[in-house]
Symmetry: C2
Subunit: 432 residues, 2 copies
């Protein structure tokens, strides 16, 4: 019997992340311009402010020693206090509904999303997502055996009628009790770049709360990882702020995108009922995230370095975003088949190349590779059920590459698009 068959059911359900083959391509051909990776800008990573913070931390022996010791599972109490008060302030809340007991620190928000999955989901459970949504979490949900159901989105976020329609559909099928959650990236969604509008936030929370009055409890998992990466317009309160009773929304966030993925400090706010179950899973895995990173983050926040850094990277990313959008306009603006959303934050531009299969086996992906540019085929970003998978979408990241490389990459991509489009009508008569 092969080892394969000895794996757990969870491991057998786990499929390779689609990004893996992209990373292999990128590694094998370092000259490629990758507009695929969701990494952050390398040049602006905050070496100096981290240096200062650690200098401060480690020059105090007692505090240094504490940072090198274990912490409590849920995270350092001071950090949790700071995080909660920052959230209350950002949400312009007059009073804080939550206690620091509900705040949890994890190694990135992805770890918290995973802990939520471990705690809530069994095989056959149903989780609603935007279509498209964050494909890494789709992979984790697939491991848990969860049925992911994509909901229609417009420029304001998930369409409320799509949510109520899906709820009713599964209720009618006798599967109401299997609906466990809706997962929403509420700021600058990955990949669509859409921010859920304020009105939409209230509507979605209300729909779920109404459901919870009559049916088995479902949660809203709010992923706010990109909140700080806003380049235009004003911040708006979180989905959590719209949850009056604080029992429905699980809020997750992170400093990975806004400060450093290498320190890997993520965090969240849990409904009271879930504090104990989720922290128990965290205790089982790793007794909480590394204390040293948490202490570094405290110093960084207390020294005001975080705000300064966010200001700085907002300017950097705005330039990169502009470069990408301008290059798209310049090289692809003439094509009726090609359209994209004008992102105002985050790390992604979501582009439609109508009628062209953008997948790894389609004509565009290979042609783009030949031209020296890599993107994420949009098909990976769609849940398996619900809204149909769109095969003509592309996720473009502007986080990693320089402005020059972005322009160059977009130029290559545009050439590939033109070539593929040019070929299409020519091949038709030849086939006829």
């Amino acid at each position: 019997m092969s080892a394969k068959n000895r794996l757990s059911q969870l491991a057998q359900r786990t499929v390779e992340q689609p990004i893996s083959y992209l990373m292999r391509e990128a590694l094998a051909r370092p000259e490629l311009i990758s507009l695929a990776a969701g990494f952050v800008d390398q040049a602006s990573l905050p070496v100096e402010s981290t240096h200062d913070a650690l200098e401060h931390l480690l020059s105090q022996p007692a505090q240094g020693r504490a940072a090198l010791q274990y912490s409590t599972t849920m995270g350092d109490p001071l950090l949790r206090e700071i995080l909660l008060s920052r959230l209350v302030s950002a949400d312009q809340s007059t009073a804080c509904k939550q206690s620091i007991e509900q705040v949890i620190v994890t190694a990135g928000s992805n770890e918290l999303l995973y802990l939520i999955g471990l705690t809530l989901f069994d095989p056959g459970d149903i989780v609603f997502c935007a279509a498209p949504t964050y494909f890494v979490y789709l992979g984790a949900l697939q491991s848990f055996g969860v049925r992911t159901v994509g909901l229609e989105v417009d420029t304001e976020g998930v369409v409320p009628q799509a949510l109520t329609f899906a709820m009713e559909k599964y209720l009618t099928e006798g599967l109401g009790s299997r609906i466990k959650a809706i997962y929403l990236t509420t700021y600058f969604d990955n990949p669509s770049s859409i921010t859920t509008s304020s009105n939409r936030r209230s509507e979605l929370v209300e729909i779920v709360k109404r459901w919870n009055q009559k049916h088995d409890m479902m949660y809203i998992i709010e992923d706010a990882a990109y909140r700080d990466l806003r380049y235009y317009g004003d911040d708006i309160p979180s989905l959590l702020a719209a949850d009056e009773d604080g029992d429905t929304v699980i809020h997750t966030s992170s400093f990975s995108k806004s400060f450093s993925p290498g320190l890997r400090v993520g965090w969240g706010v849990l409904p009271p009922e879930l504090v104990h179950p989720i922290s128990s899973q965290q205790g089982n895995i790793n007794f909480g995230s590394p204390h040293f990173s948490q202490q570094a983050m405290i110093a960084i926040l207390q020294q005001g370095s975080f705000e300064k850094h966010v200001e700085k990277i907002r300017m950097e990313y705005r330039k990169k975003l502009q470069a990408m959008l301008q290059a798209a306009e310049m090289h692809l603006g003439d094509l009726q088949n090609v359209s994209w959303l004008p992102a105002t934050g985050g790390l992604y531009v979501w582009m439609c190349v109508a009628g062209i299969d953008t997948g790894a086996d389609g004509p565009l992906f290979r042609r783009a590779l030949d031209m020296g540019v890599l993107y994420v085929p949009g098909c990976h970003c769609f849940p398996k059920e619900g809204e149909p998978i769109q095969h003509d979408m592309i996720r473009l990241s502007f986080g990693v590459q320089s402005v020059e490389r972005i322009e160059q990459g977009m130029h290559c991509l545009a050439k590939a698009v033109h070539e593929v489009l040019d070929k299409q009508p020519q091949t038709l008569p030849a086939e006829a």
Copy 2:
């Protein structure tokens, strides 16, 4: 329907770690001398060498930026190379059977143990363990729905006949295919302090390999977290070194005990068949452990600070161990009912108070608390099946407290033991 019933089956199987109530006691009464916590010595935590390493790392902008960026899921290639070559050297192997592709870095070895569980275990699967064994992993195994089966140990480790007997028992019951692994802490076991002898290592590996020739694959999970904490005698090669084909033993280790739990760098060596499945789970959870901690550890290892630190803490812990053993001898040596193993490394002394229920509801635990000392009741360290749970055992940690506090704590404990023993014969006639 309450939220409780909406938890996943895994979450519903999860019970509170027994250590939790101990930690609450310790927090509520800070004057208590805790001989319960498995934390490391606070005073010797390596602030200076961490400071030097990070100074080195962050004064080089390019390297500093790299440390603040994402790494690959399995861990930094240079760190993995260093870890493997250190292991080969410690094992006195002439050639390296493993490649660095098999080396994985995790946030502590506990995270790796959890990843192994996710990858291999389904509810109803059987895992053999020493009786007693590491109770935190028993908790995780319970969450996975695993049946834990305790095997008899003697001073050389798990008794080979106990393993073959257990294998045959479940085979006869038609459950051979549910046997997935045996979990062994091979150096200074937590709590028993026993190191598996060299002969025993070969025997155990051979038994499992023989099983694997005829039956479904089972793995040996080697937990070597305490290997560097040796205070007497010479190091011996790992269980992994006895695995000629390298397909049977999963080796896990950590710098948490030997350097810093706050940085939280653990690692392991995986059989080739498990590399992909385990790294996939790691990708789902957190894309690998924090890169910054990994880079710090590289600098610490390259600067030679790690060896110096281990030398230093060996001396510190040896003093503490001596203090604990001498206090035990002085205050409890006269009692026939009381015995303990002379630990030669690790962080624990495993003590028997024959005939006395040492559990949280028994007479000794409360009396000891009243006297101002906290210990871990041994009953928590036993798997649910197999060897019967021993209710008269105590786990004593000498890692956290100073020599003076250890002497004081042991004195209090001894008084409590004497009192409880004195009362026992008196209560018998009164009941008669």
